[in-house]
């Protein structure tokens, strides 16, 4: 009896614990409808700016940020709910986690849109004589009709994605710019299984295949498609779905489920003509908003995209190759010509279809309701360049923000060749500053430390400007001054001037002049207290060249490729004035946005010359320690050289490197060492060098590392084994905390259309479009364009045009009598497209009406 009671008690305990576990927030069941599609995409629940930020506080809003590691998004949401975390900085794409998030009243999220999934096809003819259906471009094109993207969005992603058809990302500026062209193509390539089946059947028969018992057969053998399906994410169910669709139209599909490592040798490395695969579920990531996707056609449809065997098998239709190259090289005179090239390239690329894009993922990063942070539309909070300046608890100054991410301290930190993991660059962005920052919603460059810039381009170059901080001029000829620096003499450690290298003179296509404000060198200080100086900028120029020359003491073969890339277009740099700092840079490379030409991403080298290196910000004196250590073969900036020398990879924040760097700090301090003294010595005095090393010594004694930046946070504590690091507010940071408060929330417009449900053919019809954000009228000043598209009952685009502004956030579309008289009787669809100027995502609103006689 006792025994029975015991077992009963035990059973009850187990059941009780299971019930409690089931009641926990992390495991709660989804009770709501699946998230909506693109028009009401779920993720733009970023906290609103509820008040005008008014403060005297300088620097960061919060006092401290603590980073920890958490691999599981589900566990992170549990911790957010339990109040043990404030932000999970990762692009989460798991629908069940989003359901949990939606049912958690204390949590919200921000939208991240930089990832896409595609169906990649092997276009080669197989050497062993087997039939490869995808060597036929019409069959590749027919794959668009095979895939029901709305099904994928709703059933697989539960709404956390947007259907995507073309090479253009649906949330980047070019999509908004050419929305009318794209909507037309999307209508043309909308899901139509019968059309796909018919097209495939016609082509397969033409290629000599026959349908036997519902299965395609060639030379007596069934046509079996080797479909490599990635297993790590939603590409697994997507692959399963497409495989089933292919089976529906008569193919035998060999589903090969593989991880990235297993799949890579097959789809990417094997010779496509060997026929190891037919189809692959590809995926691409854009870490930041790409304002010019013109280069994507060459990247994805021509052999120039990559040196791998798959890309070498790309032999596009000649005209597609031409327009792809024209767009890659910005070979157009104005935006209208660019538009024509895009229209042609888009149409031809859909016919070529080496890839069929399926979705743009609408991932999210969860955080607590009372937190706000500027989140990059493509990169999330972790990709935002101004997260450090903007993160705050609403209505509060100070406090500690606790952030988790799936990794931390992954690889060594050093500005020249350190980690490029997002888990490391995220906290790094909080400690660093820059001359310009990227607008998290549009990708345009905004001045941060810079005061203004002037861009001059040669006549005929298609360069345009949007913002007022930059001026743009054209000229017939840009001559590079003879005293501009263009190359580096690693032996004598002196720059080579244009006059020395090009005695006959040198001309170029663009000139950028950046103006830093008066007094910057008094107000901006490194975290160790040393004032920023022109020497930090010059050191950046030197380090661009020196490691790539064999005569250098720190020669590193791994840096040669990048320098060659720079030098291909670089035409010189000249320091016009050191205080205030004014720098001229000459370059043959350009971008259609003048602002982007002054930013970090597109044109190399970066013409601001801010001491922001490829892998972080660095002061000349902290980098000097690494230079000494590398010259003495005790450390190396890059992993390649560290391995070649069998020495430690330079980590300025932890590990065995610190002892070596400390040794060289002592040596440098004792000698007042000035690296590259023949050049840098003109910008640094011995006293300044001594003061800098003294400051760095004190900083190291206090914080235990050498990571010295100028940003809103100081790297305070590094705990590698515990997997934690802490950032403390930089009290010397000069900017007001509310400088970037306008980026609290992306103003993604909500559009509603109203109008007559029935329209008589031959009569005028007027439709109203209401554009709002958070239930307020969307300021017309923030809208660059409102377009409309009219589709008939077959989905064909009939007409497009611009809507007329009739009030704040109100627009009108008028279909005149001749337009309505041309329409077919029946259901027609009007689509209104709103293109804001303050966010790169366009908003769409369909409206259906019936045309009567």
């Amino acid at each position: 009896m006792k025994q029975k009671s015991f077992y009963a008690l035990l059973s009850m305990l187990v059941m009780l614990s299971m019930i409690l576990a089931a009641c926990a927030p992390a495991a709660s069941e989804a009770t709501e409808e699946p998230a909506a599609t693109e028009e009401t995409a779920p993720a733009e629940e970023a906290p609103a700016a509820t008040e005008e930020a008014m403060t005297d506080r300088a620097g960061a809003w919060v006092d401290e940020v603590v980073f920890t590691e958490e691999n599981s998004a589900e566990a992170a949401v549990s911790q957010l709910n339990a109040g043990q975390l404030d932000l999970y900085a990762y692009t989460v794409a798991e629908a069940p986690v989003f359901e949990t998030l939606k049912s958690s009243p204390g949590l919200t999220s921000t939208q991240i849109v930089g990832s896409s999934n595609t169906l990649m096809m092997n276009p080669a003819e197989f050497r062993d004589g087997r039939l490869n259906p995808f060597s036929n471009r019409k069959i590749r094109e027919a794959m668009h009709w095979l895939i029901n993207r709305d099904y994928v969005v709703q059933e697989i992603y539960k709404g956390l994605a947007r259907p995507r058809y073309t090479v253009l990302t649906t949330v980047f500026p070019d999509y908004a710019r050419y929305a009318d062209i794209l909507r037309g193509l999307e209508s043309k390539y909308a899901y139509d299984l019968d059309k796909s089946r018919e097209t495939v059947a016609a082509e397969m028969e033409a290629m000599g295949a026959e349908l036997v018992d519902g299965k395609w057969s060639y030379n007596g053998e069934p046509v079996t498609l080797a479909f490599v399906i990635r297993t790590e994410d939603n590409r697994r169910p997507i692959g399963d779905y497409i495989a089933s669709q292919l089976e529906n139209i008569g193919f035998v599909v060999d589903r090969q489920f593989k991880t990235r490592s297993e799949a890579s040798p097959i789809w990417y490395q094997s010779n496509p003509a060997d026929g190891q695969w037919h189809l692959y579920t590809g995926g691409w990531i854009s870490p930041s908003i790409d304002r010019d996707e013109g280069d994507q056609f060459a990247a994805f449809f021509t052999a120039q995209g990559d040196s791998g065997p798959l890309w070498q098998a790309y032999i596009p239709a000649p005209r597609l190759g031409e327009v792809a190259l024209d767009l890659l090289n910005n070979n157009f005179d104005n935006l209208e010509e660019r538009r024509q090239l895009f229209e042609e390239a888009l149409t031809l690329s859909m016919e070529e279809s080496y890839q069929a894009w399926i979705v743009d993922e609408a991932s999210f990063a969860p955080f607590v309701n009372n937190l706000s942070v500027a989140s990059d539309l493509a990169g999330g909070p972790e990709g935002s360049q101004i997260w450090g300046q903007t993160i705050r608890f609403e209505g509060q100054e100070g406090g500690t923000v606790r952030i988790a991410q799936p990794g931390i301290l992954v690889e060594p930190w050093n500005p020249l060749g350190g980690t490029n993991w997002i888990y490391d660059s995220f906290p790094q962005r909080g400690t660093s500053d820059n001359a310009v920052v990227s607008d998290p919603f549009t990708g345009l460059a905004l001045p941060q430390r810079l005061e203004r810039a002037e861009v001059t381009v040669a006549d005929g170059l298609p360069v345009f400007k949007t913002l007022d901080w930059i001026s743009l001029e054209t000229t017939d000829k840009i001559e590079v001054p003879a005293d501009a620096w263009i190359d580096w003499d690693a032996v004598n450690q002196k720059f080579i001037t244009v006059g020395e290298k090009y005695p006959d003179g040198l001309t170029t296509l663009t000139k950028s002049i950046v103006y830093y404000p008066e007094g910057m060198f008094d107000s901006v200080k490194w975290h160790d207290g040393s004032p920023l100086s022109a020497a930090d900028f010059v050191m950046n120029m030197i380090m661009l060249f020196d490691p790539a020359y064999e005569d250098s003491a720190i020669y590193d073969e791994a840096t040669v490729a990048a320098l060659e890339g720079y030098l291909a277009s670089f035409r010189g740099v000249r320091i016009v004035s050191t205080n205030p700092l004014v720098i001229e840079t000459y370059n043959d490379a350009y971008n259609i946005d003048a602002e982007i030409m002054i930013s970090n991403n597109q044109v190399y080298p970066n013409p601001t010359w801010w001491p922001q290196y490829s892998y972080g910000e660095g002061a000349w004196h902290s980098i000097a320690l690494g230079v000494l250590a590398e010259a003495n073969k005790e450390l190396a900036f890059t992993a390649d050289k560290a391995d070649a020398l069998s020495v430690e990879w330079n980590s300025m924040i932890s590990g065995p490197s610190l002892e070596i760097l400390k040794k060289y700090l002592d040596q440098a301090a004792s000698e007042n060492f000035i690296p590259y003294a023949a050049t840098l010595g003109e910008f640094v005095s011995a006293d300044e060098a001594a003061a800098r090393y003294e400051n760095l010594g004190k900083f190291h004694a206090e914080h235990g590392h050498f990571w010295v930046n100028t940003g809103p946070f100081i790297l305070d504590g590094v705990f590698p084994v515990e997997g934690t690091l802490t950032l403390k507010r930089n009290p010397e940071y000069t900017d007001n905390a509310d400088k970037w408060s306008r980026f609290d929330a992306a103003k993604i417009a909500v559009v509603e259309v109203d109008g007559p449900g029935q329209v008589a053919a031959g009569s005028e019809a007027v439709f109203d479009a209401f554009v709002t954000f958070e239930d307020e009228a969307y300021p017309s000043a923030d809208i660059s364009e409102v377009k409309y598209l009219l589709f008939d009952s077959t989905g064909a685009l009939i007409v497009s045009g611009a809507a007329e502004a009739v009030g704040e956030g109100q627009y009108q579309v008028t279909l005149d009598a001749s337009t309505t008289s041309d329409l077919e009787v029946g259901a027609n669809r009007l689509e209104v497209i709103v293109i804001p100027s303050v966010v790169s995502i366009a908003s769409f609103a369909p409206y259906e009406f019936v045309l009567t006689k």
């Binding site: 077992y7 990417y268 990559d306 291909a568 990879w649």
Partner: protein
């Protein structure tokens, strides 16, 4: 569970010291040689398996080129070059990376190099992983994770080992008691691994009751003074230790109890009881003594297997242990880390087996080192 090694001399044993020394020397040499060969074979197989017989080279090459393509396209660093120069530079970058990873050498050459380095305990450099503090040396990658592993698994396993033996001894004396039936009844709970209990414990004690942390080794940021750090560490140890205990304690106790029960029913134990010895004396002299070799063997193996960690449990509790590091190394095909940890494990196992031979002779008078011809 291993059985006690017994040696029953069939002939009178020579007591000459020189003969004993020679026999010992011969045994030691033969034993060391056989163990070394075993280690060599084990390490060689590890190298072959970790490299998938050389196929990892193909994976690596593909990953290198794919990584470069993504990097070049996302950073636009080579945009300004002509198409031909761009492709050439991409090839150069790939070649450099292949050289860094040693892919410019034939697989068999690298295998021999791995072997010789491993056997001489020259653990070398990781190919992709860094230690927590940023070092590429395999030694540091392993050493940095050793302390947390020893703290969690060392403490919990040693406590569990001692606890289960003491409880088992008690149960073997009180066979059929209520506690005995409870342990027997709960033994099947050990069929689930520790991480499984960990998930429930986290939901219950961290998510719902909010009494204990979700995971990690200490609070973030770690407390600055040692006492607070220690308290924080204890707090974070509770849930993973309980999870390990739930998954092993009952079965382990049940096994030991059964083992002791077998010895408790030996004739010589009955004789001791009949002679009126106290139960403590019987336990110590007639049960524990003959079972000591088995207990020592188990204890030694527990210590060695700490080396492998517990990847899933560590992941669930976000514990920075060796198991996660090795799991990561396998995922990244980081051969030096895999081989390095394996060779240390192999040496530790071989040395333990070697030492146990002598320990058995010390603790069990029936065992005699070197007279292998009489082994049963």
């Amino acid at each position: 569970m291993t059985t006690a090694t017994e040696t029953i001399p069939s002939t009178p044993v020579s007591r000459r010291p020189a003969g004993t020394f020679l026999r010992l020397l011969k045994f030691t040499a033969a034993r060391l040689f056989s163990l070394f060969v075993t280690v060599v074979i084990g390490v060689f197989l590890t190298i072959l398996i970790a490299n998938m017989g050389g196929y990892v080279d193909t994976i690596r090459r593909a990953e290198i080129r794919e990584g470069i393509m993504v990097r070049v396209n996302s950073t636009n660093i080579l945009d300004n070059l002509s198409a031909e120069d761009r492709l050439k530079r991409i090839e150069d970058m790939a070649r450099l990376e292949e050289k860094r990873l040693g892919l410019d050498q034939p697989f068999m050459v690298r295998t021999v190099k791995y072997m010789s380095n491993a056997l001489t305990l020259n653990l070398g450099r990781a190919q992709k992983m860094s230690s927590d503090s940023g070092s590429r040396t395999v030694r540091l990658i392993i050493l940095e994770r050793l302390a947390p592993t020893l703290i969690l698994f060392g403490a919990s396993n040693i406590l569990l080992f001692a606890g289960s033996i003491l409880i088992a001894l008690n149960l073997s004396r009180n066979y059929g008691s209520f506690l005995d039936r409870v342990i027997v009844g709960l033994a099947p709970t050990s069929s689930a691994p520790g991480w499984f209990y960990g998930l429930f414990l986290i939901v219950l004690f961290a998510g719902v009751l909010r009494l204990l942390p979700f995971g990690g080794m200490v609070d973030a940021p770690p407390p600055p003074n040692r006492f607070d750090y220690f308290l924080s560490l204890l707090k974070h140890l509770v849930l993973p230790t309980v999870a390990i205990a739930l998954s092993t304690l009952f079965l382990s106790t049940y096994n030991w109890r059964t083992f002791f029960l077998i010895f408790s029913s030996e004739d010589y134990v009955e004789m001791a009881k009949a002679k009126g010895l106290t139960s403590r004396d019987i336990e110590r002299r007639y049960i524990l003594r003959p079972t000591l070799p088995t207990i020592i063997t188990n204890f030694a193996l527990i210590l060695i297997f700490l080396w492998t960690g517990a990847p899933i449990l560590e992941t669930v509790f976000n514990w920075p242990g060796l198991g996660r590091a090795l799991f990561q190394a396998v995922g990244l095909f980081d051969i030096p880390v895999i081989v390095g940890s394996t060779v240390i494990f192999a040496y530790m196992l071989a040395i333990t087996v070697f030492i146990l031979d002598f320990v058995f002779a010390l603790v069990d008078p029936r065992v005699k080192v070197g007279s292998g011809e009489n082994r049963q």
